[in-house]
């Protein structure tokens, strides 16, 4: 359904060129839920923004192709992409606090989007709006609909943002860390809601998060990104339970396992490399506990490992 091929995205800044995405390849099939995980700054959000053509002005799509049902999104005219946004592909943004129109009542914002995509009367849109609010577990929807974003809690805002994105409902929902501000119960409900959407309406979901727990719960497939590259991808259970890349492993180890509060958590040593001066070899080399000589000079490409499980690491190839 959606295929990202050879995507390179650079940012021009006065300090130099930032290679934010490098050679990204992945695809999402119909009805599939794909997760992207990775450290902060690894290019998850940029990937999502590129798909919708919403990159900042200083971004430069150096190469690549994003095909959605046969159309290359990157080549579409402004008019054409407008018909896709929201209706075909919708996105939940990472920061719910600033993603809402600050001076418009949330109900109004939501009904407008509903009206746009579902071609219904004002009254009907209002009804659907209340239903949508209820769907994302907002208590007292009538009351909240009349509130302004600044009067809502973080989680409430995030749920409104989710409701906005699901209004159409779209064929593909890109959810960029949609549940960061939600408590577990609501998060659970929202994930259920997304699952439902996926199962009943056939909506595919690209789920960006760094919460591996969430990934395990909802995603069929998982992509792990690091420094603007895909370093591992495969069936969720394969990636999470038999991680191959040392980075993926390290990520999993960093989670508090809820058992021992006295042992420090295992954070990954070192820092994400400066994307302006990518190391010649593997980007993770400097932090890797299994680093070898080749790693420092030769960048490993994403290669097939076993049943749909791809890894970009010299280690796994012996």
């Amino acid at each position: 359904m959606l295929e990202v091929k050879d995507l390179h995205v650079n940012f021009q800044t006065f300090r130099g060129t930032i290679e934010a995405l490098k050679n990204i390849n992945f695809s999402i099939a119909e009805k599939e839920v794909v997760g992207i995980v990775g450290e902060s700054g690894s290019g998850k959000s940029i990937t999502a923004l590129t798909i919708l053509g919403l990159l900042e002005k200083n971004a430069d799509i150096a190469s690549g192709e994003i095909t959605y049902r046969g159309d290359n999104l990157l080549a579409l005219s402004k008019k054409e992409i407008q018909t896709i946004r929201g209706k075909k592909i919708a996105m939940v943004f990472q920061e719910p606090m600033t993603a809402l129109h600050p001076t418009m009542k949330v109900g109004e914002q939501l009904s407008e989007v509903i009206r746009r995509h579902r071609n219904v009367s004002r009254k009907e849109a209002k009804r659907l709006m209340l239903v949508a609010l209820n769907d994302v577990h907002i208590h007292q929807p009538e009351y909240v609909a009349k509130q302004y974003p600044f009067e809502l809690s973080g989680g409430m805002r995030q749920r409104i943002v989710i409701a906005l994105a699901m209004a159409a409902p779209p064929d593909l929902l890109i959810a960029d860390e949609p549940t960061t501000a939600l408590d577990v119960t609501i998060q659970h409900e929202i994930l259920q809601l997304m699952k439902e959407l996926n199962e009943k309406k056939g909506t595919s979901i690209l789920f960006i998060t760094h919460d591996l727990g969430v990934v395990s719960q909802i995603c069929n497939r998982t992509i792990v990104m690091y420094a603007g590259e895909v370093i591992e991808s495969g069936e969720t259970k394969d990636v999470l339970y038999t991680p191959q890349h040392p980075y993926t492993k390290a990520l999993i180890e960093a989670l508090p396992d809820g058992k021992n509060a006295n042992v420090p958590l295992k954070a990954i040593q070192g820092e994400v490399p400066n994307l302006m001066e990518r190391p010649i070899g593997c980007a993770f080399a400097s932090r890797c506990s299994h680093v070898m000589e080749t790693c420092k000079t030769n960048p490993p490409a994403l290669a097939h490992w076993q049943n749909q499980h791809d890894v970009a690491c010299w280690l796994e190839r012996g």
Binding site: E39, E151, D183, G213, A254
Partner: protein
């Protein structure tokens, strides 16, 4: 251990037209020095409001809050005893950073509330460098502006900013919800170390139960502006007393939990029939007719209280 914060029957009601939202309702709680009090609860249950009252952003509509024995609010006016003592990290890093300041300026900004001497001393470049490295930022970031960072990086900036005054009490409002696991680990480690090093006290607001479990010594569960259960982390996690706490614990998505374990969710919504019914009545899976009258906070063990008839 002495109580650093005492809340006595504190309430915060927002009124809009005829409707009143009880963001916080008659809350009585105290936080002891050196404690890490975890505040969990449903989204919109008043966690951030709780923090706002402490930090001076919103005045309470009733009750009294004391910091080290002295009231924090006098007639809607916030009394700041010593600047930099109480710090916050907000839930929303993006809008809490001034877009026109560089990271360096942002981080040292709280020092300007201190006396000159103290500022000079804490402002030193070494100190600053050490701090930003601890939160996982780099020296080269110092001259950049907030918009140039990813969400996680911004939150680290906010944390560094809260730490710079070497406060004794920090309100952390979902400090790691925007962070990736690796950084989250770094930050949590850092917070923990700092607490040990400096004997800090935290109010840790989060909805991530494993984080809470890792960080907190004590946990309070908030539901619709009311504390429904409070107790030491151990007791609360091992022996939850309130049905809402149980639901919270069970809905935790985790790599390590057995995924097949049935999740006990909310019950079908039922309208409470009386004015005085239990606040959780609507969704409680164990509601009975007794719940039509509201339960009181009862002891359920050492330092363990819950508001439930069962």
């Amino acid at each position: 251990m002495t109580a650093i914060i005492e809340m006595d029957q504190v309430q915060k009601h927002y009124t809009k037209g005829k409707l009143t939202i009880k963001a916080l309702d008659d809350t009585t709680i105290s936080i002891a020095e050196g404690d890490v009090l975890g505040l969990v609860g449903e989204s919109g249950s008043g966690k951030s409001t709780f923090g706002k009252l402490l930090i001076g952003l919103e005045p309470p509509t009733g009750g009294e809050i004391r910091y080290q024995g002295a009231p924090l609010w006098k007639k809607n006016k916030y009394v700041r005893r010593k600047p930099g003592e109480l710090q916050t990290v907000f839930q929303d890093p993006q809008s809490s950073l001034d877009p026109r300041m560089t990271i360096k300026e942002i981080i040292i900004e709280p020092l300007y509330a201190l006396s000159k001497n103290e500022r000079k001393q804490k402002e030193s470049y070494d100190n600053l460098l050490k701090l930003i490295k601890r939160v996982g930022l780099k020296e080269e970031h110092l001259e950049r502006y907030p918009h140039e960072f990813s969400g996680g990086q911004r939150q680290r900036i906010a944390i560094a900013r809260a730490l710079i005054t070497e406060p004794s009490f920090i309100i952390l409002d979902e400090p790691t919800s925007a962070l990736d696991v690796s950084v989250q680990a770094q930050v949590l480690n850092l917070l923990k170390e700092l607490k040990e090093e400096r004997g800090l006290t935290y109010l840790f607001i989060s909805h991530n139960m494993s984080v809470i479990k890792y960080m907190c010594s004590k946990v309070a569960v908030l539901y619709k502006g009311n504390i429904v259960e409070i107790g030491s982390t151990e007791q609360l996690f091992n022996n939850p007393q309130h049905p809402y706490t149980e639901i919270l614990l069970s809905s935790l998505p985790s790599l390590f939990e057995n995924k097949e374990k049935a999740i006990e969710g909310f019950a079908e919504t039922a309208q409470p029939k009386g004015e005085n019914s239990c606040i959780f009545y609507e969704k409680c899976p164990r509601r009975t007719d007794q719940c039509m009258t509201s339960p009181a906070l009862e002891s359920r063990g050492k330092d363990h209280f819950a508001v439930c008839h069962y």
